[in-house]
Symmetry: C2
Subunit: 308 residues, 2 copies
């Protein structure tokens, strides 16, 4: 089974954290070196890595701290990590680490055990999702689910099920185009790009028959936060009677989607692209990085099951 | 009352047609010269002008032909015009011209009379739309309605009604960003850009309370074809209980939206932007330039009333 580089985008070697720079993809497959937690946190803020990459990075930040024999800084570093970006529940992760630190098991062992468990769980999650797919299905996806989409396709192929994909380009960061289409094509799967506005057209024309997306946050009531644009696709899927599946992280402590803090990013990131100005000078933009899809629009959650 | 350059984007002076090159906006306000119908038709194919610009251009093509004393070529030129792009009903326009040519009134007079009537009708259409707007409304719009949106805002201002706008950027050609936001800002109105995927977010947050879009085609049953992305906004407006208004051209002879031929454009136009490659090499795209919004999702049509 082949894995996308996005499946495990962070590596730890000889005390250094290597972060796959997702902003350079697909032109360049390159890693940023983080020698300490400050450099690592900067990479989160600058969206060099996202989604599962952020989870891995948090764990490797603490692993690095242990290797550097700086365990006394755990609480301080946890606070800095928690303040990087609002929508993923960093506190959930850092609290877990702080909890481990109080146990009798060495922290390094806890972190490595967690990461090993996470890897297995992610593979299982992709396998579960693949069971929902029938031969000949065409899946619409949005943004990027960190290597899970090609893995789902690999599981389908192993079962002799043919599956094709439509990927929204996912403005403004184009993760659908730069990451999802790239990783699917790279592993030989059939993928067609559309702009975010074309979803109703391809659904109404019967070109796709299932939606699978990821989630950055799952609340207790089943609401999810995911990349901006997901909510619209969920409403459209309901309108066109197409199942809408979500690959979820474990539920956070938040009661409902209303409690999830949505990050508003600088509008410059949508008004420019790689230095090219897209909008007239002086025009303002509004850029919520995520939206919240209510539980009622979700056909099925496919959970990531993690032992703590 | 101030007019946007997009309200009347084609001019005719000394036998030459001047076409506002909308692909250069907002960086440059420049006109392409068309000395004959072939040059003019190329500008349509290359999407240098669109919507009402296409209507004006067709009329000026025939006016130029009359001035060049080539009335014998009317039928030949009508065929070439009809073949430029499929979604706007060029045949409706050229048939009208061919009809006038058979009447006793000189063709030049018919064309100039039609254009004068069109100008008045468009102003009236904007005024009608402005009556639907209440003080404090925030209008979401998509793509560009050729100068009508700032005109609607001017009518509101005249009545002392404050109105703000959200414009989708409208990928892949970014007409919402390059044209709508530009012309609104230029006339001093408050406009905020969002990406096409943010519509559900701004609707669910109550940031917009009305939708006004244009239409490239109106079928007999009230279905409309408009820029790709419109259909999704109509479904979302219904979901969030927001009125969805459409500024329409006169109805064509087609029975329903199913009969409207939707143009599929080269995927290169969505995979690249101004020479910058957005998608990985070798990945394919699907680019229907328009979608069809069913009559049932439209709160009210605001027709363009033209005397023939």
């Amino acid at each position: 089974m082949k894995f996308s580089p996005l499946f495990w985008p962070i590596q730890f070697k000889n005390g250094i954290i290597y972060i796959l720079d997702e902003t350079l993809l697909p032109q360049k497959l390159a890693y940023i070196k983080a020698r300490n937690y400050k450099e690592a946190c900067r990479a989160i803020k600058e969206m060099k890595t996202r989604a599962v990459g952020q989870v891995l990075l948090v764990m490797y930040i603490f692993l690095q701290l242990v290797k550097q024999k700086k365990q006394k800084d755990l609480v301080k570093v946890a606070k800095v990590v928690n303040a990087t970006r609002p929508t993923l529940s960093f506190k959930f992760l850092t609290d877990m680490v702080l909890g481990w630190a109080k146990s009798r098991v060495p922290l390094e062992k806890c972190i490595l055990g967690f990461l090993e468990g996470l890897k297995c769980s992610r593979i299982r999650q992709a396998e579960e999702a693949s069971k929902l797919i029938k031969n000949g299905d065409v899946i619409l996806t949005h943004c990027n689910i960190s290597g899970l989409m090609p893995l789902i396709a690999e599981f389908c192929a192993r079962e002799g099920k043919g599956v094709k994909f439509f990927a929204t380009e996912t403005r403004p960061y184009l993760q659908g185009s730069r990451l999802t289409a790239w990783e699917l094509k790279r592993q030989g799967f059939d993928v067609t790009l559309i702009t975010d506005g074309m979803v109703a057209a391809v659904m109404s024309q019967g070109k796709v028959n299932k939606v699978i997306v990821g989630a950055d946050h799952l609340a207790q009531n089943g609401d999810i936060a995911n990349k901006i644009g997901t909510y619209a696709i969920a409403v459209l899927a309901r309108h066109f009677k197409i199942p809408f599946y979500v690959l979820c992280p474990p539920a956070s402590g938040l009661k409902s989607g209303k409690d999830i803090k949505i990050e508003i990013r600088p509008d410059k990131e949508m008004l420019e692209y790689q230095g090219l100005r897209l909008a007239p000078k002086g025009v303002k933009g509004y850029y919520p990085a995520f939206d919240v899809t209510p539980n009622g629009l979700i056909t099925k959650h496919i959970p990531l099951e993690i032992k703590r």
